[in-house]
């Protein structure tokens, strides 16, 4: 196990800057999720840590070693790829033991390590099979097994669940988290799925256009997103944004509606409210229902508040249909305010 420290990292492909002065500290044993839209640089950041891309500027430190110049094999990391990257011509056991053989590990020790990893991941009966004979979930587990046997200082995961179906993804998410709790190895995990980030991470790092927009615990990011981008990216359904300005009784929208908001900071132009913070109430604002999405435990409603489209998550059962009008009250204490430049004001 080791901490990872990244200082002022820069990387560009041709004229395009992919990573711009990125700095990040990852504590020993932490599970850090890098999240962001396609092209934000999260996978490139992971690949530079792995040693699969050469950095143009800055420093990467794993434990007490600066690893910029070290090849991937000497960084004491293990990586799980999106496509699993299992060697198709090797059995599961050979896939898992390949790195140990290259290291010159004695045969009986290899056997013990593979058996231990197989036990942890429930791969025992599959050791003699080839990757083509395995399901997607089993292949994913083998890829993790290959990482575990190396007993690395840092685990790197590059969108490992994106090839799995929704049900298996939820199951594997739990397995990876359990594995981390069991092994306690520092883990850096890349995903574009913010639900994955929220459910798995100790720390989430939100990236956009090669910079870190915000990092913090999942609930810090959810409750206090630093800017409009993070506010919109974290949370599903996404936060509602309504444009307007500060008024004498709260926040006045562009079309003259007044939203209860406590103290509204000066200079605010965007009011944000999470869908679950719009609650049905007789004192609420009138919303015309456009779409109703019952999910079982809750009902998602998309509607129109004046000229603005809003979504609400109602925890109690509610009997509404498109075209109905309901009253939703925004929680004044949970309003988010953003200025002209998109940065948070409260």
């Amino acid at each position: 196990m080791a901490d990872v420290s990244i200082r002022r990292l820069g990387k560009q492909f041709g004229a395009v800057k992919i990573l711009k002065d990125v700095s990040l500290d990852i504590a020993d044993g932490q599970f850090v999720v890098l999240v962001g839209p396609s092209g934000c640089g999260k996978s490139t950041l992971l690949r530079t840590i792995a040693g699969l891309e050469v950095v143009d500027a800055g420093e990467i430190r794993i434990g007490d070693r600066v690893v910029n110049e070290l090849p991937a094999k000497d960084r004491d990391i293990a990586m799980v790829f999106q496509s699993y990257a299992l060697y198709p011509h090797m059995t599961v056991a050979d896939n898992m033991s390949f790195s140990l053989k290259l290291k010159g590990t004695p045969r009986d020790e290899i056997g013990k390590k593979v058996a231990r990893a197989a036990e942890i991941l429930d791969l025992g009966p599959l050791l003699d099979r080839f990757p083509r004979q395995l399901s997607g979930g089993q292949r994913q587990r083998v890829a993790m097994g290959r990482a575990i046997v190396r007993d690395p200082k840092v685990f790197l995961f590059d969108e490992p669940l994106s090839n799995l179906d929704a049900k298996l993804r939820v199951q594997m998410r739990a397995e990876i988290k359990e594995l981390h709790q069991r092994l306690g190895t520092t883990t850096i995990y890349v995903t574009h799925d913010q639900v994955e980030a929220m459910t798995m991470a100790d720390v989430i790092v939100v990236m956009r256009d090669g910079i870190i927009e915000q990092s913090g615990t999942p609930l810090e990011l959810y409750d206090h997103p630093r800017n409009l981008f993070v506010a919109e990216f974290i949370g599903s359904p996404a936060m509602n944004f309504i444009s307007g300005k500060a008024g004498p009784d709260g926040f006045t929208t562009d079309d003259g509606l007044v939203l209860p908001a406590g103290t509204v900071p000066a200079g605010v132009v965007t009011y944000g409210i999470r869908p679950e913070d719009l609650v049905p109430h007789s004192d609420g604002l009138e919303v015309e229902v456009v779409v109703v999405e019952p999910t079982g435990p809750e009902t998602h409603i998309i509607g129109r508040l004046g000229k603005h489209s809003v979504s609400a998550v109602i925890r109690d059962r509610i009997d509404v249909k498109p075209g109905d009008r309901i009253r939703l009250l925004p929680s004044a204490a949970r309003a988010h305010f953003y200025g002209e430049d998109g940065s948070r004001l409260n």
Partner: protein
């Protein structure tokens, strides 16, 4: 009248059948002729495709009147050396071009492909002089080296196309596992390229086995003659020909190619269709 639907369903089958007959008929005819008595052969076109009795005397004469076994051995040595050397050079070259991402790798590939455009006859005299300069004229290497040179462009092209289809993540996984460039090539890329290798072996073997120009030009010793050159032995000084023995020798010379193809047929088809569907 046949409906349009039936016609389109049958047409490809009929065309393939016609093509097959055109391809196979000469082989069947030579095999049949090699098993007929000299008298039956002397009757000319009236002789039957399926002989009344199987006569193996032609084969006995073919081996007795000419050093056919020596020619077979020479052809085999030259084929094995040429194919071995071609693969030994083409596979790492193509791997470097496709997977090591150095500046100008595509230019290097195009440079190799230029070799496809050089006719053998244009290069004959310079190669003749070069072999003399190296002192290897009239040796196996005099045929092996030029053939390797002419086979390399296709082999590199085929390997490069195959290596392109190997996901980079697989090679990156190997490098994280601790494999260097050569180990990744040897332990991951080479085992995966087995079908491409077999295709190259068979494709090149047919050319090398039938090669006449280099063998006829650069080898003057009878002891080094290859099968295609050796077949000339069956024409006597006055132009008389022992047709039975000639046909038998032709069958002997064709058999290894057919056997190799039949043995590796499935792998070649697999390799030709690799990547056509998601695995």
């Amino acid at each position: 009248m046949l409906s349009r639907h039936k016609l389109t369903a049958w047409l490809p089958t009929v065309l393939v059948a016609i093509f097959l007959v055109i391809q196979i008929f000469p082989i069947v005819w030579v095999i049949s002729a090699s098993l007929q008595t000299p008298e039956a052969l002397a009757r000319g076109p009236s002789n039957r495709l399926i002989p009344d009795t199987l006569y193996f005397g032609n084969y006995v004469r073919a081996f007795e009147t000419s050093p056919l076994l020596q020619y077979l051995l020479n052809s085999t040595i030259i084929a094995v050396l040429t194919i071995g050397l071609t693969i030994l050079l083409a596979a790492p070259a193509a791997y470097a071009i496709e997977k090591l991402r150095f500046n100008g790798s595509q230019i290097v590939l195009n440079y190799f492909l230029l070799g496809l455009m050089i006719p053998v006859f244009v290069a004959l005299l310079p190669i003749f002089q070069s072999l003399g300069f190296l002192g290897i004229r009239n040796s196996y290497w005099a045929v092996v080296l030029p053939q390797v040179g002419f086979q390399l462009p296709v082999a590199i092209y085929l390997y490069a196309s195959f290596f392109r289809s190997i996901p980079n993540e697989l090679l990156e996984a190997a490098s994280i596992d601790g494999a260097g460039v050569f180990r990744t090539f040897w332990s991951v890329a080479v085992p995966l390229s087995i079908n491409a290798t077999i295709t190259i072996v068979v494709y090149n073997f047919i050319f090398i086995w039938n090669e006449f120009v280099f063998a006829n030009t650069f080898l003057t010793s009878d002891a080094l003659k290859t099968l295609p050159v050796g077949l000339n032995d069956f024409v006597s000084d006055m132009g008389r020909r022992d047709y039975g023995a000639t046909y038998a020798a032709i069958v002997v010379s064709v058999l290894p190619t057919v056997a190799l193809y039949l043995f590796l047929n499935r792998r070649i088809i697999d390799s030709m269709t690799a990547g056509a569907v998601r695995g």
